[in-house]
Amino acid sequence: MSQTDNYESVVSSADSKIATFDESGKGFVGRFHDVLHKTPSMVPLIVLLASILIFGLALGSRFFSPFALTLILQQVQIVGVLAAAQTLIILTAGIDLSVGAIAVLCSVVMGKLTFDYGVPPALSVLLGLIAGTGIGGISGWLVSRLKLPPFIVTLGMWQIVLAVNYLLSANETIRAQDIEAEARFLQFLGVKFSVAGATFNLGVVLMIALVFILAYALRSTAWGRHVYAVGDDPEAAALSGVNVHRTFMSVYMLTGFICALAGWVMIGRFGSVSPSATTGVIGNIQAITAVVIGGVSLFGGRGSIVGAFFGALIVGVFELGLRMAGANPQWTFLLIGVLIIGAVAVDQWIRKVSA
């Protein structure tokens, strides 16, 4: 046998030098590309800062006021929370068309329980959060166990949840005044406080906290690594020892929970509980827009929650800026369309150049 492989023994004396090539054109640009490469959420951050700058220059102190700048945060709080939920699903290579509908339904559940069934507000909120988690769990189960495409599952779920929402609420809005009088806790996330002339509310704080917590969980816990692995290649993840089913279930349930939180944020922001809130119909597209502008790949496994948060802010800055500049609604709509394509094109280009 040995004569067949003696030629292989030569390798013991092989040269162990590794290929190294001169790093051409390093310096500032090169180092900048390295940074972009290592922290992909830098790209949306740059776009965000650039758009703030541009609108600031165009609109002056009206835009650069604490009022206007914190207004952006307040205006994106719902979409921001939904985008966090959406990011989780998209990281697993899915997509969730039901996020907005779940948020609205959960806000209705919280309101209905309190006003029609006399449940104490805090308990209603808790039950609303549980409802959201449950709906997410059903979607997760359909995706993970029945192997149905997430697009379909959540498309169906979207319609089901919206219809249940209308049926349950009989389309009646619970008025802000009534909530304020009888169940203030439902509006808890609307509580405002001022810091140096800027107004924040607890909903904004919740959104930022959520982004931080999820960013930590995705980056620094085993669960986070598993979410990325499942999105990257579920089969490979399963073979290398990830409990794919548990990961899917946890992601979809957590997403449902966060959507329910968004429902609570909605009560805080609008004061009232309104079953016909548009978030139910267009919240999904808004959240997806934020996520993709934030550089998260629709193919799964790549991107960060912080990027999605910046994505939501970019849209917020554009919408507020265009509105303040007096652009008419259709032009605003058109320009947001251009922004979506443009932002992703810039992102793609920067990544290519810095590859």
């Binding site: 009206r62 006021s65 009022f67 206007a68 207004l71 307040q74 205006q75 719902i78 219809a163 209308y166 009989a170 389309n171 009646e172 809005t173 008025r175 802000a176 005044q177 922001r269 609008f270 004061g271 009232s272 309104s274 079953p275 016909s276 809130a277 548009t278 978030t279 119909v281 267009i282 919408e319 507020l320 509105r323 303040m324 007096g326 008419n328 609604p329 259709q330 709509f333």
Partner: protein, 316 residues
Amino acid sequence: SDIGACLITKTDTNPFFVKMREGATAKAEELGIALNSYAGKIDGDNETQVAAIETCIANGAKGILITASDPSGIVPSLQQARDAGLLVIALDTPLDPSDAADMTFATDNFLAGELIGKWAAASLGDAAADAKIAMLDLAVSQPTVGVLRDQGFLKGFGIELGDPNKWGDEDDSRVVGHDVTAGNEEGGRKAMENLLAQDPFINVVYTINEPAAAGAYEALKAIGRENDVLIVSVDGGCPGVQNVAEGVIGATSQQYPMRMASLGIEAIAAWAKDGIKPSATDGKDFFDTGVSLVTDQPASGVDSITVAEGNDLCWG
């Protein structure tokens, strides 16, 4: 011009609001007011309206004209605007509670429905007792305008209402069914077909607005029944009045958005100059910009104007 004003409509995909904006823009130019217009993305879009109000405050506007998508949901945001010293005028749709606005310039939507209901019943005479009615509504989310007109129509026709805050809970067997149209031709045709499939002998059709009525007419025409069905509608847009003239629609309740808008702009101008707020129509808690039934077949007991008159007043 340093007086700023905002117009916030439900959407700007509906000609009604397009015309309202045109009226407001014209008046604003005349009075030297800088007008910014905003609109929700779809009917019922409260979120975008809230964001628009906040923008108006940030922009330092003097007043807001709003057709609220969610009449009670929008109240806290408008309160914020009033606290910041802005005049708030509700157009077209009263707020809930209505004193959340400094004044309301509106059509009475329930009344608009009631007029066409009464007219339809009167036109049918004795046949009204065994009419077969199709109700073509706006959307599954049952926005208030749709509910008010629907329930007004039924009341005017002489049908007992269930809960007046929603449609679809009536027991009267004359109502064949409800379907939703999104307020356009496409939805009108499909909804009409669906209800015809349930009962081909429908002879009265209530429609949320005139585009839906035009769609319903196409569906009836497709099976050759366009001449034995009574279609009634609301809005009084110029194409709608034209359709009344041509017999597509039997009668329509006309409202006056240009008037609402120009009155609104004048009110803001007055507020900015002299700090005066407008006052309501006598006996009502809002300024009624009026509604008129437009038809060339007047029915006894129901006031109406002719198509020619309607044409002079129509808005788009």
